[in-house]
């Protein structure tokens, strides 16, 4: 085990009593509880942590947080893999296993680093221009292998992800100084507060800056503030929870890493992550700021790090990343790094400041501490193959005397100023203002969002605390709570002063392809200049051409440097170029978290029929019919599906079968205007139907097209029962309500859907009556008393029953409806009663054959949105009906009255093909030999092999079909042609004798 040599003997927020071992690229290291993977690796002297996207340049951690663009690793293996994990965000746990990415054979010796030598030939747009011949597709495989980040996991995710909705009055995002103050103030008002923070611990910069608040150390103050918040039951604290998306009406999506910190050893019943959907009356964004890199040649070497990150590693993790440090800056905050390093015993070689001077507190402290300060100077290059060994320092402006020289060092801590984290604010639709002095974009302000702290460009602690408190009060008040004005916190930082920042965008005048702007996507200064030369001058085009800000880090360190450089090259002011619009997510979200538990059995809801358990026990297949689970067939032992379907179909033709049709729509319509209302809904005549009788009916839309067919029953005076098809059951209720409420609100009608109250058990076949007559019933089932298309209600085995003599098979058939809870018992009773008749259940597949033999339509399969009643042989009643109804006026449109319309016909296959049926979708053509002959004149819509007729049968729609019966046509499908005779669309019992049996 390598001995940690960069760990300080004391300090930091790590738990030295809990050492943890972990592995990186196979080697075992040690860290402590409280470390991140990055801090533990740096403590072990491991600084080369990744290879860049395109040139495979050696890279180390640039940051200590969410903005990390270099230190990407692949975590764990098998079902626990996470690619592109930012080592700076991975909490260390015992046994953690990580691997480097985008390198081969290893991160230390990466063969594709040779790309770096060719960098000048691989600028932006290189792919688009070079790989045009023979095609980009040809090259894509090679390029994808050479360039890239992590690989997608191969195994299924072994862990679970859950979702959670939440509501609050005030959502505070970010638990640094401003966020904590906002939460304290809002919570005090009694408002429901959620405080969310993306880090492992709440406190933000207070966890590692050497600040004091109200006379106590900042970290202590954080602890007491969190204690105070946790004690209030109107407060929810969510650490490890990143707000990633800001949507309309203050809907915030947040990803909580519930058990990531336990790794694969997390308990199985605990989700790995949880996606929160929070609806907040008011939102306080206290999202802080991210330090900006400086742009100079070779600013991407391992050992060039953001100054605040150096400070954070030092103070939070007790890791001295380097031993001899050059601090490069344009602002005061980097002087804190120099001060803290010196206090920890690390050599500060020099602070290299582009500014002439500053009278800020930290600058003055550095001066008194004897730290060497080179004003008017800039770092202009670095040396060192796999880590910085020296930094070149040169006068920044021409007026400064002095010459360039190399300073030996092993770490360059840079600060180019700070970028406020305005991402969520921008996602909310908010516009940004540019503050010239600091070179930053800040929120303009919106009425449902408060922003506080450094997201507003406030750099001093006292300002952040004050602004946070004010935002908390304002948010609570706006949400309708009484909140008192805050008492000012006594921050020791209140006496601090800061000198002005000098925004700089490049430190050397020469152009070079080694000045990195986007580290992760390998976009350099010269790439920006090239983009400008090629006229990509809109910031959104520029982003997409160069891919600046489009990688895992989403440009957290590169966006502003990129657009500012573009502005400089174009000779424009930065606000004229503007910032790109930020879009969700703020940071990458695991696909698993987005999917949540909605996978496998929970992918979408399932509906079960009342006899589901019986069907399931038969080991049959269930088909998805909408949400319904419907049995397709019931194979007996040793039977194939095809054999089962054939047996079931023949059973219904010859004996009797039992079918569950419970999803069939059932809608009661009541009221003195019910008949008149329904007469407008249906194409068929409604008032002429007598009580206790049933009528087939078509429903059209206002364009005249058939939307559904079904039956309706007259239950009593002003009382009807409609039975739309199963698929239309719910849609039809909506349609009835819509027409009633919008077109005919004066009708005295009540619409009452009862579909699932009644189970529908259908007995079909010539022996159906015999079976029914064996049951105890107060209904006369005889042919004379209960004819076809009649309805009876009564008691069957003592259970209230509604029985319709309708048929979708062409056989004698009873639809027996009973309250659903009695269905399974009645189902078993019917099977028992029918045993002597050889009864068995039949499924959807047999039903489809039976209805097709009879030529019964399936609306939506045999018709489409252009089919009118005349096309299926209902033209005369449609036109003759005296009363206006939905769709009637459209039937007179020329398009429906002229030309050779597609009309419903049957097809009888000529020439033997055994049991193979005509393909659904086959088109009728003149001839396959000529292009004009290939014109389609119609097509097959349903087809099967009829076991009863022992021949293939099909129906379809063909031009002028009714006048062409007897004609032979060629049916073309997938380069093959067969011949079929056009027939009437009914193959079985055309006289309907069996129906009326």
């Amino acid at each position: 085990m390598a001995k940690p040599d960069h760990r300080l003997p004391q300090g930091g927020r790590i738990n030295r009593d809990k050492p943890l071992s972990f592995s990186y690229d196979g080697a075992v290291y040690q860290g402590y509880e409280g470390d991140t993977l990055a801090s533990a690796l740096l403590a072990n002297g491991k600084r080369l942590l990744g290879r860049s996207f395109k040139y495979h340049r050696p890279r180390g951690a640039l940051s200590a947080g969410v903005e990390e663009c270099n230190a990407l690793v692949r975590l764990e293996s098998g079902g626990y893999v996470e690619p592109n994990a930012r080592a700076t965000l991975v909490p260390l746990y015992q046994g953690l296993s990580a691997k480097s990415q985008n390198c081969w054979p290893s991160v230390d010796w990466d063969i594709q680093a040779i790309n770096g030598l060719a960098a000048r030939f691989l600028p932006v747009g290189f792919y688009n221009k070079t790989f045009m011949w023979p095609s980009w597709r040809f090259w894509e495989g090679f390029v994808r292998r050479a360039a890239g980040l992590g690989e997608a996991p191969e195994a299924a995710d072994a862990q679970e992800y859950h979702k959670r909705h939440a509501h609050c009055d005030v959502l505070v995002i970010g638990a640094g100084p401003a966020g904590l103050m906002a939460a304290l103030q809002a919570a005090g008002s009694g408002a429901r507060v959620i405080l969310a923070d993306e880090q492992e611990e709440m406190g933000g910069s207070l966890l590692w800056e050497q600040d004091e608040i109200a006379g106590i150390a900042a970290a202590e103050w954080v602890r007491s503030a969190l204690g105070e918040l946790a004690a209030q039951n109107n407060v929810t604290l969510l650490k490890r929870c990143t707000a990633t998306g800001y949507y309309d009406h203050n809907l915030i999506v947040m990803a909580e890493r519930v058990s990531d910190f336990l790794g694969p050893k997390a308990p199985v019943d605990v989700p790995r992550q949880r996606l929160w959907k929070v609806r907040a009356a008011q939102v306080v964004l206290a999202t802080g700021a991210i330090e900006r890199p400086l742009v100079f040649p070779n600013n991407d070497r391992p050992g060039v790090m953001l100054a605040a990150a150096v400070r954070q590693y030092l103070n939070r993790y007790a890791v001295a990343v380097g031993q001899r440090v050059v601090v490069a800056c344009n602002n005061d905050s980097a002087y804190r790094t120099a001060l803290d390093l010196q206090a920890a015993g690390v050599e500060v070689v020099a602070v290299v400041d582009v500014r002439a001077d500053s009278q800020g507190s930290w600058v003055n402290q550095a001066k008194s501490a004897g730290i060497r300060i080179l004003n008017n100077h800039a770092v202009t290059n670095t040396k060192g193959r796999k880590g910085v060994t020296a930094a070149r320092v040169a006068p920044y402006s021409g007026e400064t005397p002095g010459v360039a020289r190399w300073l030996d060092c092993d770490l360059v801590a840079m600060s180019g100023g700070w970028n406020p984290v305005v991402h969520l604010y921008s996602q909310s639709g908010g516009d940004l203002d540019y503050v010239e002095a600091d070179g930053v974009f800040v929120p303009q302000g919106r009425d449902y969002i408060q922003t506080a702290g450094s997201v507003n460009g406030r750099w001093l602690l006292a300002e952040c605390l004050r602004e946070g408190a004010g935002a908390g009060v304002k948010a609570a008040q706006t949400a309708g709570f009484e909140a008192a004005a805050p008492a000012p916190e006594n921050a020791s930082a209140d006496t601090l002063k800061q000198g002005p920042t000098l925004p700089v965008w490049k430190l050397v005048d020469e152009s070079s392809d080694k000045q990195w702007i986007d580290f992760q996507h390998d976009v350099t200064l010269s790439d920006v200049e090239l983009a400008a030369r090629e006229n990509f001058i809109s910031v959104e085009h520029f982003k997409r051409f160069t891919t600046t800000g489009m990688s895992v880090d989403q440009g957290k360190t590169s966006n502003i440097n990129g657009l500012a450089t573009l502005a400089q090259v174009l000779g424009k002011a930065i606000p004229q170029v503007g910032a790109t619009k930020f879009r969700p997510p703020y940071t990458p979200v695991a696909m698993g978290a987005l999917a949540g538990p909605d996978l496998g059995p929970f992918y979408r809801p399932k509906r079960e029929m009342p006899c589901h358990d019986w069907h399931a026990a038969q080991q049959g297949d269930f088909d998805d019919a909408g949400y319904w689970q419907r049995p397709s067939c019931y194979p007996l032992a040793g039977e194939t599906r095809q054999q089962a379907i054939k047996r079931e179909a023949l059973m219904v033709r010859r004996g009797v079968g039992l079918f569950e049709g419970s999803p069939l729509g059932k809608i009661e319509v009541r009221g003195k205007d019910a008949a008149e209302f329904l007469n407008r809904i249906y194409m068929n005549n409604v008032p002429s139907l007598k009580q206790g009788h049933i009528r087939y009916a078509l429903a059209l839309n206002d364009a005249g097209a058939i939307t559904d067919d079904g039956v309706f029953t007259k239950l009593g005076e002003d009382h009807y029962l409609l039975s739309p098809s199963s698929a239309a059951a719910e849609r039809f209720v909506g349609s009835l309500e819509e027409w009633h409420q919008t077109a005919w609100p004066h009708y005295e009608v009540i619409i009452s859907p009862v579909t699932t109250q009644w189970a529908t058990l259908t007995l079909a076949g010539p022996k159906a009556r015999q079976v029914l007559q064996k049951l105890d019933a107060d209904i006369d089932f005889s042919k004379a008393a209960f004819p076809h298309m009649a309805f009876r209600s009564g008691a069957l085995e003592g259970v209230p029953a509604r029985i319709s003599r309708v048929s979708f098979t062409g056989e004698l058939s009873y639809e027996v409806n009973v309250p659903a809870s009695y269905a399974e018992a009645l189902w078993r009773r019917l099977l028992q009663a029918g045993e002597p008749e050889g009864i068995a259940a039949y499924g959807l597949e047999a039903l489809i054959i039976l209805r097709l033999e009879k030529g019964y339509l399936h609306i939506g399969a045999d018709t489409d949105g252009n089919t009118i009643p005349d096309d299926i042989g209902w033209g005369a009643p449609a036109r003759k009906k005296a009363v206006d109804y939905i769709g009637r006026r459209s039937l007179d449109l020329p398009v429906y009255c002229q030309g050779r319309r597609l009309q419903l016909v049957g097809f009888k296959l000529l020439g033997g093909r055994g049991e193979q049926c005509i393909e659904v979708g086959a088109h009728s053509i003149e001839s396959a030999d000529t292009a004009s002959g290939m014109r389609s004149t119609g097509f097959v819509t349903s087809s099967c092999f009829s076991p009863h007729l022992n021949q293939p049968v099909a129906i379809g729609r063909i031009e002028d079909g009714r006048n062409r019966q007897g004609e032979v046509v060629a049916l073309y499908y997938d380069r093959k042609t067969c011949r079929a005779e056009i027939t009437a669309p009914v193959f079985y019992d055309p006289e309907g004798e069996r129906l009326h049996a």
């Binding site: 909705h165 079960e608 003195k672 579909t755 003592g798």
Partner: protein
Amino acid sequence: MPDTVSTGLRRTSPLARYWQGADAARMSAGAVSVEELPFQGVIRLQRREATSAFMNSVADILGAEAPVDPNTCAGESPACLWAAPNEWLLVTAPDKDRALAIALQQRLDEALPGETVAVALLSDARAVLKISGAAARDLLAKGCSLDLDPGQFSYGKCAATLLEQVPVTLYPMANESAYCLMVDRSYAAFIWDWLAHAMREFGEAAKSPDGVSS
């Protein structure tokens, strides 16, 4: 229609596969439990216009006024839930539904001659679940986007909403941290399975020394 059903046929719950003998389906994990209230009576009452004559007649029959404010409910047995404009759901004890439905239809037809009133039995179309315990709200919040905070959704309120894409009717029960959830019979098993999966994280097995389930 007779007041009661007298049959040799046994009633089957849509959650029958989760029954233990004669005991209806139930499950719990830590601070939350879910139980089926089998065969509850459910009646839908609809009127085109809620005239005062109608409202008075309903109050006479039910012994309590039907609520007129959206998303509120009143009474215990039967509970009367506002479901839509001029539409209510009555929830009764098992086997009390038919007699009540018949009484409603007959007495309203008598009291309001020539007007249309629809009384529909939905007892077999609905499954009713009771979700209770300290974590009941947390469990529901995993699939329901309503604000279930007692300050917003207390006893006396009700809502038609979605739970994991499935339409449900939800209302807090009296004097307990419990909710009554009504779902279409056909979705009952799906919702039960979903709840069983969703509640696992509240159970003992999910508790670890690191307290992640807290």
